[in-house]
């Protein structure tokens, strides 16, 4: 995954400059992989675009296929949108902390908010006929469809942490990658 390519190296250095350490971040993903980024964003929907651009850049550096990148970015957007809307209630004073890490043919994404957490068991299946026409409640479903593994936990401060992994070329719960 590492590369002596000068362009990639410059990109990597730029990302390190952009990245910001956050001493309050309780369990950061260690930056021991060759491709790693850390973002601290205020809770505004327009900042999802910043996270998306950073992840696309990282996926390009890692040589991911267009399809892999597309679905990884789709899952990232959902996790970040949930953190902003449901976790931080769009309070711009609260932050969303995002880590990306590419290592051994997989990408790991960690998104943490400063909200009050939620009970995963109360989230209905949006494909249940009784819920099919609901206008919301598909974000977690999106993540689970497009990533290999999705896990939720509580941050020490009470917020929600979602950690997602996608192995390159692996089948996800959807049939998209089989095509």
């Amino acid at each position: 995954m590492d590369s002596a390519d000068g362009r990639t190296g410059r990109r990597r250095r730029r990302r390190r400059v952009r990245a910001r350490s956050d001493p309050s971040h309780p369990t950061p993903i260690p930056a021991d992989g060759p491709l790693h980024a850390h973002l601290v964003l205020s809770s505004r929907f327009e900042n999802i675009e910043i996270a998306e651009r950073a992840l696309i850049d990282l996926c390009e550096d890692a040589g991911f296929s267009g399809d892999d990148s597309y679905w990884i970015v789709t899952a990232l957007r959902e996790a970040t949108a949930n953190a902003i809307r449901h976790g931080n209630k769009q309070d711009p004073e609260k932050t969303v902390i995002i880590d990306f890490r590419v290592h051994s043919g997989e990408v790991r994404i960690r998104v943490e908010d400063q909200g009050e957490g939620f009970d995963l068991d109360t989230v209905p299946d949006p494909t249940d006929p009784g819920y099919l026409l609901r206008p919301s409640g598909r974000g977690i479903f999106y993540m689970r469809q497009f990533m290999t593994r999705v896990e939720f936990s509580r941050a020490p401060g009470g917020g929600t942490v979602v950690e997602m992994t996608r192995r390159l070329g692996a089948e996800t719960r959807s049939s998209i990658n089989e095509e």
């Binding site: 929907f45 609901r134 206008p135 598909r138 479903f141 999106y142 998209i176």
Partner: protein, 112 residues
């Protein structure tokens, strides 16, 4: 997200391009459909050929628009899905809800 509107007979065709995502595209979609209903255009064909991404908020807004139009006695149909938007409609099983047409001619005929 960008949009273009044109009316053919009694059908409003709304051509969308770009992203239908939270905080911008989803709101615009709602405004376009509400505006059509206010103008008495209850038959709406949404052309998604230029749409590159639709997140869960965009899909949710599409469902909400479908419900609103149906309650008004109109019809909302989708036109020209890109492969990825088609994938998303399949995994969410909303492909069973929406009438999806492959070209404008078919789309217009579907309202008759």
């Amino acid at each position: 997200m960008k949009s273009e509107i044109r009316d053919v007979d009694d059908v409003r065709i709304i051509e969308l391009s770009g992203k239908i995502t939270i905080g911008s595209g989803d709101v615009k979609l709602r405004e376009l459909v509400d505006g059509s209903l206010e103008e008495g255009q209850n038959n709406i064909l949404i052309d998604l050929a230029g749409v590159t991404a639709i997140d869960s908020s965009g899909i949710g807004e599409m469902v909400a628009c479908y419900t609103t139009v149906t309650k008004r006695g109109g019809q909302l149909k989708l036109l020209r899905l890109s492969p990825k938007i088609n994938d998303i409609l399949h995994v969410t099983q909303l492909i069973t809800v929406f009438d999806v047409l492959d070209n404008v001619q078919e789309g217009l005929a579907a309202f008759k």
